[in-house]
Symmetry: C2
Subunit: 134 residues, 2 copies
């Protein structure tokens, strides 16, 4: 979903945005930042590309990216220094990890729907195992 690039001397990441997707661009962007934090591609206190430079890279309006950054700020995943730049917060990874655990809820919904559709427990579990060990 993304590849590393080098930008102005700072190693960073290059999100792939699908403008045709039903998911809003700003949500896709947040998703990829979080993903790269988990992957270790983005470290604490590392500087993120500015709204303006990223908007050029992705051919996306700066406001769209600012919206994404504001949401990351709200979640304490990054912090901004006016005039200086935007950085990954200390503890960002653990915050993302905790947030991702909320995926257990949609997981439960899917399991209950699969059960209703007649899927067997062992079938679901083996699917989970297979995917996990991939």
């Amino acid at each position: 979903m993304s590849e590393d690039i080098t930008l102005e001397g700072k190693t960073t990441f290059f999100p792939i945005i699908d403008k045709q997707s039903r998911n809003p661009i700003y949500e896709q962007f947040i998703e990829q930042v979080e993903r790269n934090i988990l992957l270790g591609n983005i470290q604490e206190n590392e500087q993120l590309p500015s709204v303006r430079s990223m908007s050029v890279l992705l051919s996306v309006n700066p406001n769209t990216l600012q919206k994404a950054y504001i949401e990351l700020e709200r979640q304490k995943i990054s912090y901004s220094v006016p005039g200086s730049g935007r950085f990954i917060a200390v503890g960002a990874k653990s915050i993302v990890m905790k947030e991702k655990l909320k995926l257990l809820e949609p997981l439960k919904v899917i399991v209950s729907e699969l059960k209703l559709a007649g899927a067997e427990l062992n079938f679901i579990i083996s699917t989970v195992k297979e995917e996990f060990n991939k």
Copy 2:
């Protein structure tokens, strides 16, 4: 999510629509029809409420419901007889069951994201078991 009612002598179902939801009304409606088929609340060849009567029940525009019905038609879950009414197709339940198995894909996505977030396999599996046996 829904409760049984009796309408014009025909036992049917009464979908609960959340107009504030991000999910379109017509998708919510389809979801509940499918759910009630799986639950056995709607049988094969059973007549569905007409676009007009259902629109009154749900305080929703007839066109919105027609859109939902057309999609159910497309999936061969129901069929319509102009002038007569709309009915659940033979084999509808098995079609819905097959369709619901597509939920395995988002299930896999969630599992891989949970893995990335550091969740352990046994933790995921016990969550699945717990939900399944609920």
